[in-house]
C-alpha cells in the first residue's frame, strides 16, 4: 500500500526530472588532446567543445606551440579523443539519491527516537512495545503464516497502513534477531 504510493510519487518525480536530462547541453561534448613533451616544449592538454568531425590536432591545439614544418611531427604524437557526457543524468541521479537517503534518514530518526516518545505520551505506558517483543520471542524462525493469521484486518485505510507497518516491523525485528543477535544467518 504504502509502497505503491511511494513508487508512484517516485516515478512522477523521475518523469519531471527526466525532461532536464534530455536537454542537450553544449558543454557536454569535448575533444581532449594530450600532447607529450616534444623537444623543449612541455607536455600539454588541450580541450575544446568541438564536434566529432573537428576533433583532431589541427583544430584543437591552439595556439600551436611549434612552427610550420614541425606541426606534423608534433601532431603525430598527440592523441585526440572525442568525449561526450550527460550532465543532466548526473544531476538527476544525485538529486534522486540524496532525496531517497534524506527520506530514509528522517524515517529512521522518527522510528528510533520520535515514535517511542509519541507512543509513550499517547498510551501512558509501554504496553504496546511489550507486545511487539513478545511475538518475536516465541518462535525462533517465525512461521509467517501462523504469525500473520493471528491479526484481524479491518477495512479502514489507516488501520491497513498501521497493520502493514506493524507486520513489517515484526519482520525486521525477526531479521535483526537472526542476523545480529543469534548470528544464524550472514556471519
Amino acid at each position: 500500500m504504502q509502497g505503491v504510493f511511494l513508487l508512484r510519487t517516485f516515478v512522477f518525480v523521475c518523469v519531471l526530472l527526466l525532461s532536464e536530462v534530455t536537454a542537450k547541453n553544449s558543454e557536454d561534448i569535448r575533444c581532449k588532446c594530450i600532447c607529450p613533451p616534444y623537444r623543449e616544449i612541455e607536455g600539454q592538454i588541450y580541450k575544446q567543445n568541438v564536434s566529432l568531425k573537428d576533433c583532431n590536432c589541427l583544430h584543437v591545439v591552439e595556439p600551436m606551440p611549434v612552427d610550420g614544418k614541425d606541426v606534423e611531427a608534433y601532431c603525430l604524437r598527440c592523441e585526440c579523443k572525442y568525449e561526450e557526457r550527460s550532465s543532466g543524468t548526473i544531476k538527476v541521479t544525485i538529486i534522486i539519491y540524496l532525496s531517497i537517503l534524506g527520506l530514509l534518514l528522517l524515517y529512521m530518526v522518527y522510528l528510533t527516537l520520535l515514535e517511542p516518545i509519541l507512543k509513550r505520551r499517547l498510551f501512558g505506558h509501554s504496553q504496546l512495545i511489550q507486545s511487539d517483543d513478545d511475538v518475536g520471542d516465541q518462535q525462533p524462525f517465525a512461521n509467517a503464516h501462523n504469525v500473520l493469521s493471528r491479526s484481524h484486518s479491518r477495512p479502514n485505510m489507516l488501520n491497513k497502513v498501521e497493520h502493514a507497518q506493524q507486520r513489517w516491523r515484526r519482520q525486521v525485528q525477526e531479521q535483526r534477531k537472526s542476523v545480529f543477535d543469534r548470528h544464524v544467518v550472514l556471519s
Partner: protein, 815 residues
Amino acid sequence: MESEQLYHRGYSRNSYNSIASASSDEELLDGAGVVMDFHTTEDDNLLDGDASSPGSHYAMSNGGGAPSSSTHLLDFLEEPIPGVGTYDDFHTIDWVREKCKDRERHRKINSKKKESAWEFTKSLYDAWSGWLVVTLTGLASGALAGLIDIAADWMNDLKEGVCLSAMWFNHEQCCWTSNETTFAERDKCPQWKSWAELILGQAEVSRRGMYIYWALSFAFLAVCLVKVFAPYACGSGIPEIKTILSGFIIRGYLGKWTLMIKTVTLVLAVASGLSLGKEGPLVHVACCCGNIFSYLFPKYSKNEAKKREVLSAASAAGVSVAFGAPIGGVLFSLEEVSYYFPLKTLWRSFFAALVAAFVLRSINPFGNSRLVLFYVEYHTPWYLFELIPFILLGVFGGLWGAFFIRANIAWCRRRKSTRFGKYPVLEVILVAAITAVVAFPNPYTRQNTSELIKELFTDCGPLESSQLCQYRSQMNGSKAFTDNPNRPAGPGVYAAMWQLCLALIFKIIMTIFTFGLKVPSGLFIPSMAIGAIAGRIVGIAVEQLAYYHHDWFLFKEWCEVGADCITPGLYAMVGAAACLGGVTRMTVSLVVIVFELTGGLEYIVPLMAAVMTSKWVGDAFGREGIYEAHIRLNGYPFLDAKEEFTHTTLAREVMRPRRCDPPLAVLTQDDLSVEDLQGVINETSYNGFPVIVSKESQRLVGFALRRDITIAIENARRKQEGIMLNSRVYFTQHAPTLPADSPRPLKLRSILDMSPFTVTDHTPMEIVVDIFRKLGLRQCLVTHNGRLLGIITKKDILRHMAQMANQDPESIMFN
C-alpha cells in the same frame, strides 16, 4: 532431531541406471556437473491397496488442477486448499513437487489452448512471461547499477572537496571543461575546491580531518540504515543466493526493503573508503529485482523452482552490470551461483545480461571514457619466458586466496560466537576509522580502488605522467621524448614501488576484517587490487631485470636492447586474475570477465595459465572457495554438486531412527482420529510423516508434510461442518466403514504425496547422495524387504558428510 519419514518407491537398480544414463548426457553441458532433467523413464510402481493407473507421473498433491490419471475422479470435485504447497521460512523446497506442479499447470493451459481465442492468448502470455520477467529484471538492474555508479563516484570525491559551480559533479566531471589542467596535474581546476581550501586553517590537518570525518559518517550511516531497516542487506549476498538457488527459502532476503537499503548503503559503504567492492552486492540487488518482478506473474510467484530460474538469470544480469561483462556474467551464473542450469536458463541469463548491459550503456553519463571498465590500450606481445613470472603470480594468487579464506573464516567465526559480534555498529566505525587513518598518507590507498586498478593496468607510454611512469630517460638532443621502453627506473618509480608494497600489505590485512562486516561488502575489487599491485611490482622487477641483465640467455633470446619487451601492465592484469581466482576458485568465468574488462584478447593464454595455477595451488590447501566456506560457516543446507562422496557407507547407517532413537513416527491410512493426528503433530517436531497401510503390514502408502496437514485440518475445521475431534481421518480414496453415529470423516488424500522416493537399506550412500543432488530431494524413505524401515533427510546427509570429513556435524543448522 528433525528426521523425516520416508517414502516407498521400490527403487530397483534398473530404474536408477536409466536415470543415471539419462542425465549423464546433459552433464556435458553443465559446468557444475548437475542438470535438472525430469524426463525420468522409470515407471511408478502400483501402490498397495489403490488401483492407480500405471504410467501416471507423480500424481501429486493438491492444487495442480486436472490430474492426468483418470482414476481420481472424485478429486476433481475437491477444490485446492489454499496454503498447501507453500513452504516455511528457513526450509528446503521440494524440487520434484515444484516441477510436477509446473508441468501440471503447463498441461492444463495447453489443453485449454484450442478452446477459445482468450485461452490462446493466455497460453501465449504464459509462454512469454518468462522473457518478460527477465527483460524487466535486466532493465531494473541496469538502472540501479547506473544509479549506484554515479552516486558512489560522487560521494567518494565528497571526502576530498566540492565542486562549487555544480555541486553534483565529482572531481573529474568538475574539471571536465576546464582549461587549467596541465600534463603533470591532470586534476587541477579552479572550480574544484578541496576542504582544506574551504575551511580556513591548517591545510594538512583539515584535509586529513575532513577525510576521516566523511569516511566515518558514511560508514556510520550505512550500518545504522542496515540495522534499522533491513538487516538482511549486509554482507556480500552471494553465499546466501547460492543457497537460495539450491532450494532454500529465506523470506525477506530478496524483498523490496532489502533492495532499497542495499542500494543506498552500498553507495555509502563504497564511499567511506572501506576495502570492499560493489560486485557481490550488485548480484544481490539484481536478484532482488528478479524476485520482485517474478511476483507479478503467477507462473513464477507460485512456483519456487521456476522462480529460481529467474534468479539465475538475474544474477547473470548483476555481474554483467557490475563489470560491463555480459558473457562473463552468464558464465559466472553458471559456474558460481546456480545449482541447476538447464539450457532454458542459459538463454534467459544471456538475454538478461544483454538487456542489463544495454540499459547501463545507454544511461552511462560518463561518455566514451567508460565503455570498458579497465580498458588497456596496448597490444604488445608477450613472450614464452614470461610464463614463469605469470605462473609465479598464479602461485601467489593461490596462496593468498587460501590464506584469506582461512583468516576471514576464523575472524567471522569469532564474530559469530564471541562478544565481538555484539557491537556491529562499533565494529564498523572502528574498521572505517583504521582504514581512513592508515590509508590517507599513501596516495595509492587513498584513491578509489577502481581507479587504482585502472592505473596499474595502464602501461607507461609517452602520454602518462604518473609517478609510476617516471623512468629515467636517455636525454640527448634528438631523442628527448621518453619513448624508449626498457628504461632504467627513476627515483619516482622506486618511491612508487615502496608505496605499492605498503599498500599491498595494508589491503591484505584490511580486507580480512572488512569482508563480512554488517554493511554491503563485495570481494572482487579488493582481490583484483591486491593482485594488480603484486603483479605490477613483479612486472617492474622483471622489466628492470631485463634492462640491467640484457645479456642473460632468457632475455637475449627474446628481448632486443632498446625494443619494447616487458609490459608491467600485463603483469598487473594477470596478478589480478590470479588473486581473484585464488579466492573464489572460478576458472572460465574469471578469464572471460577479465578479458571483457580489459579488452586484452591477446592475453588470454597467460590469464588462463595464471588462473589454473592459482586454482591448483588454492585447492591444495582447501577445496572450498570463499563462498562455499561462508556457506559452511553459517550451516546452510547446501549440498555441493562439486564435491564427490567417496565413502563406502550404506543407507542403513545414515538413516533415522538409529538404535537409540524413538521409533519412526508414522500415520496409518485410515485408523487415526483428528485428535490423534494433532497429538502426533504436537508431540514431534518432524517435518513430514509417512503414511502406511497398517501397523502390522508397514507397507507404504505415501508421505504427508506437517505444514500441509496443519493447514488442511484448520481449513476443514473452518469450512466443513461436522468435523470433530474424534472424526476419523483417512488418506484412502474411499472412507472406511464407520458406525452410524460417528461424526463426519475427514479426507486428506489431496495433501498426500503418493510417489515418494525410496531406496533399500543396502543402497550405498554414494548413490543416495547422487540421487539427492540430481533430483533435489528433501527426504528419502528406506525400505527393507518391501517394508518401511526409516528415513534419510538432506540434513542427515549433510551431517554424515561433515562427519566423514572430520568436521563438526552439529554445525549443520537448517533442514
